[in-house]
Symmetry: C5
Subunit: 303 residues, 5 copies
């Protein structure tokens, strides 16, 4: 699905550009004062920032772990959506008896599978707070499009439409009662996946933790030049900037990872995944109209 693409170095450091310039000026000022102007010693033992460094390392470790878990769970949920979309297509295509190869069943199958493709796009767009129905006219009938606009939660309404179509299929005799239950279980799993995405989207990481870590980090960086000025002199400046960059980048990384649906370049590649689902499901339907590779994903770096 995803290819490894290089991340431009500018992009990486761009996130902490402002902070690094300030730290550069700050540590330079200290070095100038220490070397040229001041007589009284201003250095402190390195052990003082080192104690803070240990605490901050542990807290950044904790934070990185939780952020990574959120990001990885988001990726797992979208992996499960791939699996269950394929399962739904397999069930819809193969549960309906081969004797019903006439038009009605064929239309029903097409409608179910196209709606499933649309559901994946709609879920991705609604998680990014975009209009979920944009671009779905390729997969849904005009009537269904109109019906869906009445709902706040469009993907949920589409699962309900799936359920209504299952009932129709049972009443028409396309599927039997056990098959209805089995496909309904697949819908339940899709409903769970949708809810898990919403949970990750809507639950912010405890922000007091973030605040505390950020303040501790600033305290640590402010003390660092005093701890190393005696040994390094002007070489202190690049050293402090380099160490600060490390800590700030790891903090920023955690901040970005923890919100995997925020419409940022480092997002979960939902449109690409939905494109893969579309390609797979259309091939199962023997539909030749495969989607070209999605262009709108190209600005999304893969993290």
């Amino acid at each position: 699905m995803l290819l490894k693409k290089n991340i431009p170095i500018g992009y990486v450091f761009g996130k902490v550009k402002v902070e690094l310039v300030i730290i550069l000026l700050y540590s330079l000022a200290i070095a100038v004062i220490h070397e040229w102007f001041l007589e009284v010693p201003i250095s402190i033992p390195l052990a003082v920032p080192a104690v803070l460094g240990t605490v901050i390392s542990l807290l950044l470790g904790f934070r990185s772990n939780q952020a990574y878990d959120r990001w990885w769970e988001a990726r797992q949920v979208w992996g499960a959506i791939v699996n269950d979309s394929r399962t739904l297509a397999r069930q819809v295509l193969n549960f309906t008896g081969s004797q019903y190869e006439e038009d009605d069943v064929h239309i029903w199958r097409q409608r179910m599978i196209r709606r499933q493709i649309a559901w994946c796009y709609a879920l991705g767009q609604s998680l990014r707070r975009l209009n979920p129905t944009i671009g779905l006219e390729k997969y849904l009938s005009r009537k269904e499009m109109e019906y869906l606009t009445r709902f706040n939660n469009v993907p949920m309404a589409m699962l309900d439409q799936h359920g209504k179509d299952l009932r129709r299929a049972l009443e028409e005799g396309y599927i039997n009662r056990y098959q209805q239950m089995e496909i309904d279980k697949t819908l339940t799993r899709l409903c769970d996946a949708m809810g898990k995405c919403e949970r990750i989207k809507n639950t912010v990481f405890p922000s007091t933790y973030s605040l505390y870590i950020h303040f501790s980090l600033l305290l640590f960086i402010a003390m660092l030049p005093f701890g190393v000025i005696d040994y390094f002199g002007f070489l202190e400046v690049p050293l402090v900037v380099a160490i600060s960059a490390s800590f700030l980048l790891i903090e920023k990384m955690a901040i970005h990872l923890q919100d995997p649906f925020e419409n940022k370049p480092t997002d979960t590649p939902m449109t690409a995944i939905a494109g893969t689902i579309e390609k797979d499901l259309k091939q199962l339907m023997h539909d030749q109209d495969l989607p070209e590779d999605k262009r709108q994903e190209k600005y999304y770096y893969i993290m």
Copy 2:
């Protein structure tokens, strides 16, 4: 569901206000004595509090992890309640055959879905030790309200009512035997979610761990001024207060996170989640009477 709201700085530091004032006076007294009165050295090597600092960091890391896990599990359970409420509504609406569009089935569907909405509110209120039936008269009949007051555990009784209604639906022929089993599985998952909330609510974090960590922390803070007084002089006071604030805040944070149903501003936003469920389920029923945004949640900061 939830929006990021700013946490007032006063709220954050308010929790450790008293402790910080005491630490301020304590470290100030030591600085005054050291600088103005005393001749004999009272400083100790920084390595002594540093050893304690490492141990405490590890223990706070352990504690933060467990507290976060409890909080995140609480959030996951409520996410599962959202999913299973939607699944229940989808099953109730779509299992009942479309030929039964007459009034009886319609009333049955309405009763099931309204009770499910009420169940979410009731569970949230009973986890906060409030009267679980307050405000449920909008969703339940007077007779059912009266019946429920006989029970200690109101949400459990409501699931039992769901079960009774399922039996009635089977006997009336609204649903078939497989569908009864499938909806019953959804009830089982809701019952599990309820029990998980009760487990988190009722199991206190091993309090001897908390005690030990708190005492170690006090010992560490008491030794800190002696470790840095030689290098910092009066600057020791803000340094000690800042480091103490970090450690105390991280401890307080863990204490709040570990009890996510305690009716505090940093609570799991159960009423807001139940409101979302109400909106979704009513739209599925084509009920126009959507709830306005819940006002009582506005004092709950999102953590």
Copy 3:
């Protein structure tokens, strides 16, 4: 279920009383020798015990995590028992058709639910290595009591009785074939919960790990006075005792948490949980004979 109760300070420190007295005498002896008798220096650099301290902190962290996981899993399993007991009652009450409101079905329901209550008490007692059948005569017939005494594993035999009663219900036509399967799934989950409790009970934590950690801790404590005697003099004694108490308590805590069914005051509150189940299930049966709060639990502190 559980209320936060204060843990008497004597109870907490009582567990490490003997060790602390020995450490007190040991560090006092070293201080006396150092201050009054000896000329040659006996202090060692603090870095030596500090290295050991880091290793021990990491190992205690590992141990605390595993012990906490065992304890929390035990609590989760009993939470699942609560859920599945309620589910069993809901299924037993609501699967049996309302047209069978005559006595036979009523007796069958009562027997199933009362046996489930008894099963919870029996499991708790057998995990504590008490006679599992004590006090069950309130819930079971005399004949069933006699039958059960033939088994080594009484709770397993009771699940088998549940299974036999399900067969009877199917043969009598109280429940249909799907319902038998669905209730059997609930029995399977109860069987799993029972087996998980037995696994936690019967699998000791790798004892060589415990041994190693304990010996390292003693080595660390033995070296500690020599590391701090130079800076603290007689103040070394309370410092060493306080730090040793911290480490010993955290070790003891892990030892207690890791065996959650050992009939100790810090046990998993199985009798209280079984009492909650009894109350809930009896209310579902409209049985007025609710249990009074269990008195025998009062000596069990909640950890």
Copy 4:
């Protein structure tokens, strides 16, 4: 199931005997050279091995965690085997209608349950790379024994025999179609448990990790005497041996824990667990021929 037995101290230290003697001689040589022969200083600052000590602690923590997880998963899988064996017995005994109490059904039940007992022993023996069919003649017919010898994977073939017997039971009308599916699910879970054991058995821990940790540990031990010789003189020898023993033991412990099916004294007690299953299942069948306590397990210390 398992009782806590003391681990002879000789057994514990026997594993690192050779290493400790070498370290003893090595550190003794350094002490002799330093004290009696050499004039030039050979000590190095303790901070150098201390840095390595921190890295090694973290890596040993990582390794202990993964090894413990493998060991605990092995134990969980065998706990699940206990649960599913009991579930299989309950289903086999109680699904077959009570009206079929004639001989055929009885023989069928006996065959299923005895084969399940045999399966547990066979799985344990094949995981220990012993002949899996040894001792199974007590539970299986001669014909079935012969049939099984044709298979590389005997436990898999026994599950297939279970499946064939289920088909026979359906064709004879002992069980209905739903019951066949439900028992088949139990077989699926047993098949999963078997595969999980094979996975743990056949996947070696990434050996380059082990190599790296071992080499780092040797480097650390080699540098340790130089770091402490200045402060301790000849007392350095027991100190170095004690610290080395701690690190080596924790490494050895992880190596043993990570392979829980290697026919070593610290093995997962599979034969004892199979004995428990045999006793439980025979009591459910009202079979008086209970197994005596397994003697061959007595050399297996419980870790």
Copy 5:
């Protein structure tokens, strides 16, 4: 399945060969300059690299954990594929009634099981970005081979063929409706396993984390010689190389573990596992044509 094989030492160090030569030259240059040419002191306190060392240790621990989890999850998924392949074979062989022992059913069974064997090989090959259909002509008909080449995702198409064959079996009366649903659940699990492999394959580890850790490591190594040159002189060179090798190897190890399907010697042994599945399934079919041990796996070291 897998045997422990020795990893040639050259292979282990070969991965970091270039880096180590550069570090050797670098540290040698510093030693030469310090010992022979320079008068001014160039050493820095060891505490400066030590602070970085702690941070890097924690980050490498985090990275090793996540990489190990990916690798272990990959192994678990392939373990589940083993289990579900056996389950599918057991169901296909034993659900079809024994009265249908005529040719048609036999051919259907053979086709299903041979396709399942082929599916395992195809999945392994497509995860390694090889042509998935190579070598499958032994298991599949020519017609099916041709059909499969039309699909981008061959294993998905094979599961769809499984589904079509199930429908045919239902229509022919080989299996009943419940059995179709039960085998379909096994297909769903296989579909999930396939999707999980694709997720691990296609999701790169957040590359900014990797970059950050790598840069911090280089900074640490660059500072290390200056930290120890005063104590060791020329002995500094092997020490720096040894410590650098440790850190670089642990980083490389994580990089290899995190991508378990990259066609490298340290890969997940997918072909060997598929060979095991082939052997097991053919024995269940009483097919004598067992595969010889796969030769192409011999260059794959087991990690």
